[in-house]
């Protein structure tokens, strides 16, 4: 399998969609945040310039354009840059794009992709470090994708470009440089299928996005102490593969959930609640590891304090191991 960076895999997936489907468009082309694969990006611009549009700084109408164009037969990949910029388009995403298929009685489909970078990225400060995934997860009608590896981003973007539904893809800025193996050929990864990224019998770690990498590191660290952690990556939050998560928790009897968004009403809460509702008898109370309910300060010291890290995850594992 070829090895490539997350940024490269992302561009390759967009490129492949552009090659096979003439209705694809990119709206907002600064989609690698200067973080990778510049040659591919340049080649992409050269080949497909006419299908790429740089909108004004008008996120509201840009999101509406994406939804409207999707209804009218295009497949736009709308890139907002930092996820908070899309807050200017909240109504267009959660109240237009998300609802149109249902509201029209199924007459229209809205195959638009809304892509954004999120998370504590290093110096982003209070207004550029958010992780809005749970807000989107609470909006019916949007599919929600959090790719955690080069293979995932390539395979999930491939699926997003074939999906008839509006899809929000949230990429963690810090993942852009991550290297990994990516299968060749048709790599589409179906939505709603969690991946067990590491098997283990003692404790289930459910993690999303960058936190999958942190959870894997924590699992490595704990392996030295003889703790066998299983790492489950849901990959898509909507639809959510509760079955795989619940089965893993039932197997290990211990649950730690790691997500970078603020704690209250987070994906971490959702997963813990789903396992509890399923009646899984856990050996120890589940633990969530998230950003606390605080904005993220600019200072590196404050970022470090807010960001879920390997030590925190390892600590949570130790806690549930008793």
């Amino acid at each position: 399998m070829p090895r490539k960076s997350y940024a490269q895999a992302m561009l390759d997936a967009i490129l492949a969609a552009f090659e096979s489907d003439p209705t694809t468009r990119v709206i907002g082309p600064s989609f690698a945040q200067g973080r990778g694969a510049p040659e591919t990006q340049e080649a992409f611009f050269k080949t497909y310039g006419a299908r790429i549009m740089q909108p004004p700084i008008s996120e509201g109408v840009t999101a509406a354009l994406g939804a409207g164009a999707a209804m009218a037969g295009l497949r736009p990949f709308v890139n907002f840059g930092t996820s908070t910029f899309a807050f200017e388009a909240w109504n267009q995403i959660v109240n237009e794009a998300a609802n149109a298929h249902f509201m029209s009685g199924g007459q229209v489909t809205v195959p638009v992709i809304y892509h954004m970078f999120a998370g504590i990225r290093g110096g982003g400060g209070v207004q550029h470090s958010q992780s809005p995934q749970s807000m989107y997860a609470n909006c019916p009608g949007l599919k929600l994708v959090l790719p955690a590896s080069p293979a995932d981003i390539q395979g999930l973007i491939a699926t997003a470009f074939r999906s008839p539904d509006p899809t929000v893809i949230i990429n963690h800025t810090k993942l852009m440089g991550l290297e990994g193996d990516v299968p060749e050929g048709d790599v589409a990864i179906p939505f709603g299928q969690a991946e067990v990224k590491r098997e283990g019998a003692d404790v289930t770690l459910v993690a999303t996005s960058l936190m999958v990498q942190r959870a894997l590191d924590a699992a490595d660290q704990l392996a030295g102490d003889g703790v066998k952690a299983e790492v489950v990556d849901p990959r898509t939050i909507v639809p959510l593969d509760r079955e795989t998560i619940i089965a893993s928790a039932a197997k290990t009897g211990r649950l730690v959930v790691v997500d970078e968004a603020a704690a209250t009403c987070s994906i971490a809460a959702e997963i813990i609640a789903s396992v509890a509702e399923a009646g899984v008898a856990l050996t120890a109370p589940p633990v969530r590891v998230t950003r606390p309910d605080t904005p993220v300060g600019f200072s590196p010291a404050l970022e470090r304090a807010a960001e879920p890290n390997v030590e925190g995850i390892a600590g949570a594992i130790r806690r549930v191991m008793g």
């Binding site: 209705t23 468009r25 299908r51 549009m53 909108p55 004004p56 008008s58 509201g60 109408v61 840009t62 999101a63 509406a64 354009l65 994406g66 939804a67 409207g68 164009a69 999707a70 209804m71 009218a72 037969g73 295009l74 736009p76 109504n91 267009q92 109240n95 237009e96 149109a100 298929h101 249902f102 509201m103 029209s104 009685g105 199924g106 007459q107 229209v108 489909t109 809205v110 019916p140 009608g141 599919k143 999906s163 008839p164 539904d165 179906p190 939505f191 709603g192 299928q193 898509t236 639809p239 959510l240 593969d241 509760r242 079955e243």
Partner: protein
């Protein structure tokens, strides 16, 4: 394309307007008999705009409308029975009962999604215009919206976007605001059209009670739009006295077409609006005056329209409420294994 409408066209345009009016009157009747249809924003008084624009559009042109959408849908050919069923929340409705009055949608008639958010239609129209251009069609997008939409920042963004990228969008603003009344908008510009004009968009203003004028002006403007430049048309309207009602009421009475030839018979609190601003009576008068239609022909059209409405109401009332199961259908077009 900019040729004047034929007599036949004009009679068809009148019939279209009357269909829209009788549809809204039927809604008032239903609302009086039925408490479940929510808050309706009727199109009464706006008919000349929606009908004339619809008359000069072409198949494949996409239109977007607002909370005040009934007339636009009917004008472009939506089935009155299905439209009423939708407003009554029935499974046989255009949107299977999911949309209701604010969201009437008919793909066949060129409506892909109807938003009730102020600023919804104008935003989506940018996407339609862009797609129609990119797909290499000769079609255009039309955004219908009220004066209130100019209060929202997204309207400004949409106008700027369309102007920047030469999108084939016709913006139709139905301005029913009374000078300084601030009933549905609070715009500091002295004229609505100052905003699109500042953004380099060609603007036009038309008397929204004059069906001939709207049709002629729109046909002209569509040449520019099909050529790849957006245009902004303001249709100036006198607000229908019933339009501020939460629940529609017959404040101006059921339209009596004989008022077209017998204005002396008009009476009541709102006689002024009926006499001077009802676009249906006005157009009927014109058609009579220039000999295009006779009183008998007009009466016959009305009779047919009233029959259509009776059939529509019968259809809608016979339509069942949606199955509760349907409440969870069509959230997504594609379901996955993880969906319950």
């Amino acid at each position: 394309m900019t040729e004047a409408l034929t007599g036949e066209d004009r009679v068809a345009l009148f019939a279209r307007m009357l269909l829209m009016r009788r549809f809204e009157e039927m809604i008032i009747h239903v609302a009086q008999d039925n408490t479940d249809i929510g808050r309706n924003h009727l199109y009464i008084g706006h008919e000349a705009t929606g009908a004339a624009v619809a008359q000069v559009l072409q198949p494949g042109d996409l239109a977007h409308t607002t909370h005040r959408n009934h007339g636009h849908l009917i004008a472009r050919g939506a089935d009155p029975g299905k439209a009423l069923a939708e407003i009554m929340g029935r499974a046989g409705g255009l949107n299977q009962g999911r949309g209701g009055t604010w969201h009437l949608t008919d793909r066949e008639a060129g409506f892909r999604s109807t938003s009730a958010m102020v600023g919804g239609s104008i935003g989506l129209s940018i996407g339609s215009g862009y797609a129609l251009r990119e797909l290499g069609t000769d079609n255009v997008a039309v955004a219908f919206f009220g004066d209130g939409v100019l209060d929202e920042g997204i309207s400004y963004e949409a106008l700027n976007f369309a102007s920047q990228y030469d999108l084939p969008v016709l913006f139709v603003c139905e301005n029913n605001e009374r000078e300084g009344a601030h009933e549905t908008s609070r715009l500091a510009a002295s004229r609505l059209t100052d905003v699109p004009r500042a953004l380099g968009i060609e603007v036009a203003t038309v008397d929204g009670h004059d069906a001939d004028a709207v049709a002629a002006r729109t046909a002209e403007l569509l040449v520019t739009v099909r050529g790849g430049r957006p245009v902004f048309l303001e249709s100036q309207l006198e607000r229908w006295p019933g339009s501020h009602q939460v629940k529609p009421e017959f404040v101006t009475g059921v339209t009596d077409l004989s008022h077209a030839w017998d204005p002396a018979a008009i009476s009541g609190e709102h006689a002024g609006w009926i006499r001077d601003f009802d676009p249906i009576l006005r157009f009927a008068r014109t058609l009579l005056d220039d000999g295009t239609a006779s009183r008998e022909e007009i009466a016959a059209i009305d009779a047919r329209t009233i029959e259509t409405m009776a059939a529509a109401r019968a259809f809608a009332e016979a339509s069942p409420y949606p199955d509760p199961e349907a409440a969870a259908h069509d959230v997504f077009a594609e379901r996955s294994a993880a969906d319950a």
